[in-house]
């Protein structure tokens, strides 16, 4: 198995793939963590801090629904959407490329034996 791993590491396409997938994961993770921190900080620093104060304000004149409820609801939906979007790219584009890289490396390693 080690010589196939070596072949894969030698393949520039592998590093491209790994960088591209890594970047996507990190961007999406940052979005998620930022959203969670926003929620946590809004809870922790309500109502003093400006970024938290409007969480308790109604979304319209005389309404009971607050921005906090709407934001929490939308964040939950956002998380599902991000997951579904990521899986489409990872199981489609990325995996197709990965299969080609692995097949090529397996053949190359076999030839050298």
């Amino acid at each position: 198995m080690e010589h196939i791993y070596r072949e894969i590491r030698r393949d520039p396409r592998f590093h491209d793939l790994e960088r591209k997938r890594g970047r996507l994961s990190w961007i999406l993770s940052t979005i998620v963590i930022a959203n969670c921190l926003w929620y946590i900080f809004a809870t922790a620093f309500f109502p003093e801090a400006g970024f938290a104060a409007f969480w308790g304000k109604p979304i319209g004149e005389g309404m009971a629904t607050t921005w906090g409820i709407v934001i929490g609801f939308l964040q939950t939906i956002l998380f599902v959407v991000l997951v579904v979007w990521y899986i489409r790219r990872a199981n489609g584009e990325f995996d197709t490329l990965k299969d080609i890289i692995v097949a090529d490396a397996t053949r190359a390693a076999g030839d050298k034996k």
């Binding site: 198995m1 791993y5 990190w26 969670c36 607050t66 998380f79 599902v80």
Partner: protein
């Protein structure tokens, strides 16, 4: 996939008709016959599945991972069953009932763990692991010290979580079914032993599948009924909640529960990172054939769990509106019967009478049984695979020997659950849920994350940081406000915060990093060098367990 759905439909029908029959014949005397009948139907179907599954469990791979042959959709639903404990159904509604908006932090933040698992962990875990999360770290680290740490932390996690579930189930059953608390403990313990010891992961998976279908349909029905009262306008519901709740418009605003910033942040960190690395959930990634299906499981699980959490936005406030002022749910002092955790159950009765109450009670019970089964199999794998096969026998135990230890470990954990459940009767056990989440965020998340992403991590770093983090977490919990002040009765806590995760996670991660950097031994150099191969395997799945099967 048709099987569990059919079974779920079958048992709803069976339960309803049994309940109607019992009521018609007048043998109810104070017990909820619908609940008992529906629960009995659940038990019969699940035992039948276990009987069927027992014939298919022939090796350790069948026992722990159902042979790696579960589909992404089935696994996603089963993960939903593993994830949504009674805390998700009853606890969140109870928190919203008492403190309003802040209760939703237990919906939104733990759910943030799902995208994180997807983007950072799921496919790599599947590519590197076999049966337990210790396998992943052992790919390039020393076997014995790593497995000792992770198995010990894992057992502490399982036992802490187990007590919460067992006591919750006992209380629920004695107040609903009119059954004695101790009998309830024995029944649950017995069911778990049968499911896990005989049916292994196959039976556990199907129990969780059915439970997830029941939970989602029950919660959907309550939500539908609540919204229907307001012409499907959430605004109408929230207006009524503001009118009904003693804190008035504050019920819709942050700040009711976690007023101290450090506590709030620490709690959030615990829920987010602890939620992303729970061993009984991560273990389910090994039940699918490859990384593609592992990602698919996460996508399905995130969809179902996200949907469920959206329902809590309605159910919690529904309880404020329909339970808080209704005398049938309040005692003489005007306090909710059975405590705030019963808010969702009372709401079911307010919305659908005895039948819905019975259904939701049975769902809550099935929920607990399924979660305990998942915890038991995770605990049994730590004992038999990590401690017995890899440490005690140095990997030389035969498959049959490991199987035997697994079955005995499941029986032992079931009995331990019964004993602890009875020992902790009538204790306020809500604080115990902090323990597993803290362990998970302090030990499992940093270890897994660093092992997969950071080349320089070494065994010494993990062992020193992991044990130090674990010890600091336990110490901070013991001398914190909940145990030191409230339970032991000291005047003031030594450690001022209820949630130590922020501190213990920092201690464990920083120590792991610093000690690894200082570690220049030959073993450390070999472990760093092994990162390259591990990295390719984690990215491609080449050399992954079970990958050769198809």
């Amino acid at each position: 996939m048709k099987k569990p759905l059919l079974a779920a439909a079958l048992l709803i029908g069976m339960g309803a008709s049994l309940g109607a029959l019992a009521q018609a014949t007048g043998v109810t005397d104070g017990m909820n016959m619908n609940a008992i009948a529906m629960f009995l139907a659940f038990v019969m179907v699940s035992l039948w599945i276990t009987y069927w599954a027992a014939g298919r469990v022939k090796s350790t791979s069948d026992f722990y991972t159902a042979g790696g042959q579960i589909s992404g959709f089935q696994n996603g639903l089963a993960i939903t069953g593993d994830w949504c404990s009674s805390a998700a159904l009853m606890g969140i509604a109870g928190l919203i009932y008492t403190t309003g908006f802040d209760g939703l932090i237990y919906s939104v933040i733990p759910f943030g763990a799902w995208p994180l698992m997807m983007f950072l962990l799921a496919d790599r875990l599947r590519n590197l692991g076999k049966f337990t999360i210790a396998d992943i770290v052992s790919v390039r680290m020393a076997r014995v010290p790593i497995r000792s740490l992770i198995a010990s932390a894992g057992l502490a996690f399982v036992v802490g979580y187990l007590i919460v579930q067992m006591v919750g189930a006992g209380t629920l059953i004695s107040s609903l079914f009119g059954l004695k608390y101790e009998y309830a403990q024995v029944i649950i313990g017995f069911l778990i032993i049968v499911y896990v010891a005989f049916g292994g992961m196959v039976a556990t998976t199907y129990v969780q599948l059915i439970k997830a279908v029941l939970l989602l349909s029950g919660a959907s029905f309550i939500t539908f009924a609540v919204l229907a009262k307001f012409g499907f306008s959430p605004e109408g519901l929230y207006e009524a909640a503001v009118t009904n709740h003693p804190t008035a418009e504050k019920v819709m605003q942050p700040g009711g529960l976690l007023s101290d910033p450090i506590n709030a942040i620490s709690c959030g960190v615990m829920l987010l990172f602890g939620g992303a690395a729970m061993p009984h959930v991560l273990m389910r990634f090994f039940t699918v054939p490859d990384a593609k299906e592992a990602r698919r499981s996460v996508a399905w699980a995130a969809t179902f769990i996200g949907y469920f959490y959206l329902l809590t936005f309605v159910i919690g406030y529904g309880a404020v509106v329909f339970v808080m002022k209704d005398p049938q749910f309040l005692d003489a002092a005007g306090v909710i019967k059975g405590g705030a955790n019963m808010a969702a159950i009372h709401l079911a009765e307010a919305m659908g009478g005895d039948l819905l109450l019975g259904f939701i009670s049975a769902v809550a019970f099935a929920t607990i049984v399924a979660v305990v089964a998942g915890l038991t199999i995770a605990g049994a794998s730590a004992i038999s695979h990590d401690l017995y096969a890899n440490i005690l026998r140095h990997g030389r135990a035969s498959d049959a020997e490991v199987m035997k230890v697994s079955r005995f470990a499941s029986i032992g954990l079931g009995i331990l659950g019964i004993i602890l459940g009875i020992a902790f009767k009538e204790e306020n056990i809500a604080y115990l849920i902090v323990l597993p989440f803290t362990i998970s965020s302090t030990v499992f998340f940093p270890v897994l994350f660093l092992a997969m992403y950071w080349r320089r991590l070494t065994t010494t770093g993990i062992v020193v940081g992991g044990w130090l983090g674990l010890a600091s977490a336990v110490v901070m919990l013991v001398v914190g406000p909940t145990i030191w002040k409230d339970i032991l009765g000291h005047a003031a806590p030594i450690f001022p915060y209820k949630y130590p995760a922020l501190f213990s996670m920092a201690i464990s991660s920083v120590t792991m990093i610093v000690v690894s950097l200082l570690d220049n031994s030959a073993r450390a150099r070999a472990e760093v060098a092994a990162f390259d191969d591990q990295f390719v395997r984690s990215q491609t799945g080449l050399g992954a367990e079970g990958a050769a099967r198809h």
